[in-house]
């Protein structure tokens, strides 16, 4: 360190020191005037950005408004449809209407409205319907056994209308099978005896328990009832295929939910075709067909806000 004072320094150095000092002051002023507020503003913006981004990240949506807008438009188009394509809303409504309108005519004729049907369907009416079906099927050589079918005139259920629905579904299904020349099989078990004189084997027709579907766990009312009926019949493969086709048509929606086809070995009388090859076209099919009914009529259940958010679609 030199022992010289500031005054000993050459004037140029002192001028330079003053200039440097002034420059520092200028830099300090410039910082406060030009930069501090900007830095604060930027910091605030960054904070707001991070906060907004975090908020958005929690939603799992991408940070691209254009893409989101396109997605939204796509969803809206998918929901509402276009002039050429049906929207999901309308599709759902028409599909539900179509799939659950199998018994609309009967209900309208007998009860007027679905509410009346559900409230006013009675045991007597069930007994009457069951009796009619039983009589009709007996006329066709088909005997319903309670041990197989699950119902008879004495059956009791808190929901009378559901019992009626089972009877009607069975009636539709058996009629359709008969229309296609399919033979309803009878139970091979001795204990399944039924008929007026209890000498007939019960037909392999079972009215299975109704499945009540709800949208969300905790829903108090089902929005859709599935009325499954199991039936076993024998016939040719071609007839069976025709029958299967007929289960879902403009008027009928009785989708086959289960299928088990078996073919038995030929009898001794089966000699084969002209080339000596064995032809065996008879099959035994056990199927479950379901009819659907909306217990609330045409009303759709409320879209619950508590509904768990569906996962984002691919590409979102």
């Amino acid at each position: 360190m030199s022992n010289y004072q500031l005054a000993d320094w050459p004037q140029e150095h002192r001028n330079l020191l003053a200039a440097a000092g002034l420059f520092m002051v200028f830099v300090g002023i410039a910082y406060f005037v030009f930069f501090r507020a900007r830095i604060q503003e930027l910091s605030d913006s960054r904070y707001a950005f991070a906060k907004t981004q975090k908020k958005l990240q929690e939603t799992s949506w991408p940070n691209d408004a254009g893409r989101l807008k396109k997605l939204l438009e796509g969803y809206k188009r998918e929901l509402e449809g276009t002039s050429t394509k049906q929207g999901l809303k309308q599709l759902a409504e028409t599909t539900l209407v179509h799939s659950s309108s199998l018994f609309d005519d009967k209900i309208k004729d007998a009860y007027g409205t679905d509410e009346n049907f559900m409230e006013k369907a009675s045991q007597v009416e069930f007994k009457d319907e069951y009796d009619k079906l039983n009589s009709y099927l007996q006329g066709k050589g088909i005997f319903l056994a309670k041990t197989i079918f699950g119902l008879d005139e004495t059956s009791l259920d808190s929901s009378k209308y559901q019992m009626l629905l089972k009877v009607w579904t069975t009636e539709k299904l058996v009629n359709l099978a008969l229309e296609h020349k399919l033979t309803v099989n009878s139970s091979p078990k001795k204990e399944d005896k039924t008929g007026p004189r209890n000498d007939k084997r019960g037909a392999l027709i079972t009215a299975m328990p109704i499945n009540s579907y709800i949208l969300n766990p905790g829903d108090k009312q089902p929005y859709l009832l599935e009325i499954p009926v199991k039936i076993t019949f024998t016939g040719s493969m071609a007839r069976f295929l025709d029958f299967a086709e007929a289960l879902q048509s403009e008027e009928i929606f009785l989708p086959m939910t289960r299928l088990e086809i078996q073919s038995s070995p030929p009898d001794d009388k089966d000699k084969g075709n002209s080339d000596g090859y064995l032809i065996r076209d008879r099959i035994q099919a056990t199927i479950v067909c379901s009819a659907f009914y909306r217990p609330q009529g045409g009303k759709l259940p409320q879209s619950s806000k508590a509904l768990k958010k569906p996962p984002l679609p691919p590409g979102a």
Partner: protein, 626 residues
């Protein structure tokens, strides 16, 4: 005030008789005399010992000559300084030399309590040759006194050196070829008013400086004695009669020759000059008295071959009186080969600082530039960042504003999709079954009515198979029997009979969330195919399996190993018996069972991922103890 620089300098030679100033200005690589002025103190009415008045007048005179602001190199009287020519070991660094010179000069101060200033100059160093150094030493008080006297009167003194060194520098500037010649020793003699300075110079090296107690005033006195004049004329104005052998000028010349000879002898006795070849001396005359007409030609001696005048040309006239001033000016530029500045420590320190000032200023300018550049960059960066953040934020806000609509749309879509789950799942099953029948038919059709004809005797979906009697029985066998519930007391009706409704009552209605619907994923089929002795059993089965895989409806068709004899369809036995009975007629057949996983599912139920919270929960999930 202008600091010492290489562009211009003023050499100020303050003599007892006159004051001479020369301004030297750089022109390319050489210097030229831009101005040369002098005044005679007596003429200006300045008393000989009144230094203050002299400096005051000099200031005005320099100002009038427009030299006042220029850096001045002041000459120190040679007789007041001490110089020594020394040799040091070769290849020493400057710092080492400085250290050794310092030690040497400390000996000068000896017992004296005075401070001495010293400086040195390494002359024409040659590698591996001893370092020849000229050292200048002067009392600090003297240096500071001379400096303060000049500066207190406003003279911009930037350098001071011995007048002898000024003479040597002038010679190097004026006669560079003669100075570099190695065949002769140059004796530079400046005849001052009271004293003279003799410089021994050879090959650009000052080998010694001596002061002679002989000057122009001695000439005057001798000549005045001869003429019986108390106040003789100035030596310059004096025109001696050289032809008169009795003229006192000859006496004066003889005396000067003796003085020079004595100085040479004394110089030759020093250890440094012992081995020097001293033949061929040349004497150069400068100073006021050198201008005495005929002096140079009559100063010949046996000790030197030639006598010449040394001085710059001022107004096309050789002016030996300006020689010292010229040498000082040359020294003042800092570019002269011989540099021994004897200046106060403060000035030296200041000059060091000034010499480095451009670096400092440059560094600060660079710092300022970098700071400003950084500020500009930072400003732009802030703007850009702000714009980017604003854009991103606006984008995020737009996203955020769309999120509720998107969530709502998805929720609505999810709602409608969920509404359709049972219909879509069950509605598609019929078509899947029919499609499966068609695929099996098409696959088989290629072999129909051939020896390779195969057929299926069983086709079912996974649920039907699992609910089949055979599988149920097998399952019951595998599972231990569940404890049968104890019979509960039945409520009785009014008439003591059990209530029919109670007996028939079905379990409480259980609703099925649509997400719990099990989608159809698999079909099973079983059949027979003829055996061929020339092919392996699984060769044909593999072909069927490949055909089924190709059809597109199934993916990963494979052998259904779980279907064993006990869980096989009821009609397998019948078929087995039939084919065994007719083996002679139809040949041998193999049984095959396939599982047919569906490649397409009409609905995709999102899988619920278990939400694990915390470490304990994770352990629990793994079955560990928390």
């Amino acid at each position: 005030m202008q600091w010492k620089n290489a562009k211009t300098a003023v050499g100020l030679d303050i003599g007892r008789y006159s004051v001479k100033a020369i301004r030297l200005e750089r022109q390319g690589k050489s210097y030229k005399i831009a101005k040369a002025n002098a005044y005679i103190r007596q003429t200006e009415g300045l008393l000989e010992d009144d230094d203050a008045e002299m400096y005051k007048f000099t200031r005005t005179w320099l100002k009038d000559s427009q030299l006042i602001d220029l850096p001045i190199c002041l000459g120190l009287p040679q007789e007041l300084t001490n110089s020594q020519y020394s040799s040091f070991p070769p290849n020493l660094t400057v710092d080492n030399l400085r250290y050794m010179v310092k030690n040497l000069t400390n000996q000068f101060s000896g017992l004296s309590g005075e401070n001495f200033l010293d400086n040195f100059c390494l002359m024409s160093p040659v590698k591996d040759q001893p370092s020849q150094v000229l050292i200048g030493v002067c009392r600090q008080s003297l240096v500071e006194d001379a400096y303060s006297k000049a500066t207190s009167h406003g003279l911009n003194v930037q350098d001071q050196t011995m007048s002898g060194l000024g003479l040597a520098n002038a010679f190097l500037l004026l006669q560079p070829r003669e100075a570099a010649a190695d065949d002769s020793l140059n004796l530079l003699l400046d005849l001052g008013t009271e004293t003279s300075t003799l410089v021994f110079l050879r090959q650009n090296r000052v080998l010694g400086i001596a002061s002679l107690m002989f000057g122009a005033s001695t000439f005057q006195k001798i000549m005045a004695t001869g003429q019986n004049e108390e106040n003789s004329r100035s030596t310059v104005q004096y025109n001696p009669d050289w032809d008169d052998p009795d003229a006192y000028i000859h006496l004066a010349v003889k005396r000067l020759q003796e003085e020079i000879g004595g100085a040479i002898q004394h110089w030759l006795e020093t250890p440094e000059t012992k081995n020097l070849d001293c033949s061929g001396h040349r004497l150069w005359l400068s100073g006021r008295a050198a201008a005495i007409p005929g002096l140079a030609s009559h100063l010949d001696s046996a000790e030197w071959n030639d006598v010449q005048l040394l001085g710059p040309k001022v107004d096309d006239r050789l002016s030996p009186e300006y020689t010292i001033a010229l040498g000082l000016a040359y020294h003042g530029t800092g570019t002269s080969p011989l540099q021994i500045s004897l200046i106060p420590p403060l000035l030296q320190w200041q000059q060091e600082k000034i010499a480095r000032f451009p670096f400092l200023a440059g560094a600060l300018a660079l710092l300022a530039f970098v700071t400003l550049a950084f500020a500009v960059w930072f400003h732009c960066h802030l703007n850009t960042e702000q714009e980017q953040i604003d854009d991103k934020l606006a984008e995020l806000k737009r996203c955020n504003s769309l999120v509720p609509d998107l969530d709502g749309a998805l929720e609505t879509m999810g709602y409608y999709q969920k509404l359709l789950i049972p219909i879509v799942e069950y509605g598609n099953r019929s078509r899947t079954f029919l499609h499966a029948c068609d695929v099996l038919y098409q696959t088989r059709s290629t072999t129909e009515n051939t020896d390779d004809d195969w057929w299926c005797y069983y086709l079912s979906d996974e649920f039907s198979y699992l609910d089949s009697e055979a599988v149920k029985k097998q399952r019951e066998k595998e599972q231990p029997e569940k404890a049968k519930p104890k019979p509960q007391p039945q409520p009785f009706g009014l008439f003591g009979n059990p209530l029919e409704e109670s007996q028939e009552e079905e379990p409480a209605e259980a609703f099925i969330p649509v997400f719990e619907i099990k989608p159809l994923t698999m079909l099973y089929t079983a059949g027979f195919l003829p055996s061929h002795s020339n092919r392996g059993r699984y060769e044909d089965i593999k072909r069927i399996y490949e055909e089924l895989n190709k059809a597109g409806l199934f993916t990963g068709v494979d052998w259904f190993s779980e279907m064993t004899e006990t869980t096989a369809p009821a009609n397998l036995k019948g078929w087995g018996k039939y084919l065994a009975d007719n083996k002679s007629k139809f040949g041998e057949f193999y049984n095959f069972v396939f599982k047919l996983p569906l490649s397409f599912r009409p609905i995709t139920i999102p899988e619920e991922k278990p939400f694990v919270r915390g470490r304990g929960a994770r352990n629990k999930a793994k079955g560990g103890k928390s």
